[in-house]
């Protein structure tokens, strides 16, 4: 009981929290072959949040599929989630590309391509890199590299900068590793769209009509979910599922406002302290 009280500091003061931002991979479910597996208690947890009249949005760096396909997959796993509630990098980057007149060469997963159907990709003047997974072949990486080297002003936009994530069959390199590879090869710095860019979190907050101090972020990545959200003024909690590793709790620069076993426990604690 004592530890539950300590953990609840992130819910204080009572009545403050009006909305929750949820990471998806590692919090709601674990991705992998066959569509992935829900994390125990997560389906129920999302329902409970909505029944408590809290605003819920999902903040994900998922870029292997379109939002529509991704949400459909989660709905099939039993989650109460709609496309409008999901904030992912692809729609955000399309906005950026339009605003700046950028025509991208895409180094992304095949499944993400449809998000860019309305974007002019002829005569590219930038490279957009996402979690291409098995599409990160040497040939594809080289093509992106050669295009960047051929540009007078090389622009590399990365959809997130995560280091790795956990799937059902083990840990895998995330887009950040490949972003770093291209940065080093071309001696440039990438721009990041998606977590932990402040813009990304703030667009979700704006959609909820809430201030940062009224929202709690729940994620499995101590740096990019928790740290990123804290930098925007939100309280943030790390779950011990997904890519979590015990050493995360002694991270040199990021201290989560709470560490919980999983989303279900986070929601239980939160709801106990709402009124």
């Amino acid at each position: 009981a004592c530890s539950v009280l300590v953990m609840a500091e992130w819910c204080e003061p009572v009545g403050r929290v009006k909305g929750v931002l949820l990471d998806i991979c590692g919090v709601l479910y674990e991705s992998g072959d066959g569509g992935g597996v829900p994390i125990v208690g997560s389906v129920e947890a999302v329902k409970r949040l909505k029944e408590a009249n809290l605003k819920v949005r999902f903040c994900t760096n998922e870029t292997q599929a379109t939002r529509e396909k991704f949400v459909k997959k989660l709905q099939n796993l039993g989650f109460d989630i709609t496309v409008d509630e999901v904030f992912s990098p692809a729609p955000a980057v399309c906005q950026v590309l339009k605003e700046r007149g950028l025509r991208p060469h895409l180094l992304v997963h095949d499944g993400l391509q449809p998000e860019f159907n309305k974007i002019d990709q002829s005569n590219p003047n930038c490279v957009v890199v996402g979690d291409a997974a098995e599409y990160f072949t040497y040939k594809n990486m080289n093509e992106a590299f050669q295009i960047l080297m051929g540009l007078e002003k090389p622009i590399l936009i990365s959809l997130g900068r995560g280091r790795y994530y956990k799937e059902t069959d083990g840990m895998k390199l995330d887009v950040g590793a490949y972003m770093k590879a291209l940065e080093y090869a071309c001696d440039i710095e990438a721009e990041v769209v998606g977590k932990p860019a402040a813009m990304f979190f703030l667009s979700a907050l704006s959609d909820m009509g809430l201030e940062p101090d009224q929202v709690v972020m729940i994620g499995d990545d101590i740096v990019y979910d928790v740290g990123g959200a804290q930098q925007c003024g939100m309280k943030a909690v790390q779950v011990r599922t997904g890519k979590y590793r015990p050493c995360d709790e002694q991270h040199p620069t990021v201290k989560a406002d709470g560490y919980v076993n999983n989303l279900a426990q986070a929601v239980t604690i939160l709801l106990e302290h709402l009124h």
């Binding site: 990160f136 040497y138 990486m141 590299f145 080297m149 280091r163 790795y164 840990m171 590793a177 090869a185």
Partner: protein, 252 residues
Amino acid sequence: MSTRRILKAVLIDLSGTLHIDDTAVSGAQEALQKLRSSPVAVKFVTNTTKECKRTLFERLQKLSFDIHEDEIFTSLTAARNLVDQKQFRPLLLVDNSALEDFEGVDTTDPNAVVVGLAPEHFNYDTLNKAFRLILDGAPLIAIHKARYYKKVDGLSLGPGPFITGLEYATDVKATVVGKPEKSFFLEALRSIGCQPEEAVMIGDVCLILPISITTSARLLLKQINIKGFGIVEFRDDNALQSNLPHSVLYQS
């Protein structure tokens, strides 16, 4: 006032200094012969990651260079020495043609990762395999960290970018064994039992050995007369820190 020592060894770069692809640099064969008539030890050093010693040796023989296979010291040799020293069982992300230089190394149940120029291994699945080993504590050894190399049809990604990606993902720093790491040159000299102060390097790379040599050695080197290249001399370690381009002793 620096002490003068006798010149005992000469390190000679290969690609760009003795030969360019399959053509000998003009005058290089004669220069080497002159060098042979003096009592200095010679070591040929290179950063290749794709070719094993035997392949390099055969190419130089074809170009009529007077050379022994065990005088060749490559960044692969440096990696092999390190693996042997620490008794690592490496996951070898190296080109098939370089595997010969790792013959005899136990690669079962790997507890280290060695990365060279190996485009066929720079794919998602193999890099994930390497990543997991390093995340679990396996050291990452980089033959070198070149950003890219020139091919006939343009630039191609070198091992550097992929090593950097692995370093970022695991928060581990790679041990780089090739040029221009100091350890590469020291290891090359160790293999001929020489101190840095007793050696010079001839090549087109900025070099890194503090040396002072006798007047007679200077005259000897002057006779060697390799066209178009300078000899590097650094009088002390400060040159190492200062990032100055090499100071040329003389140039033919």
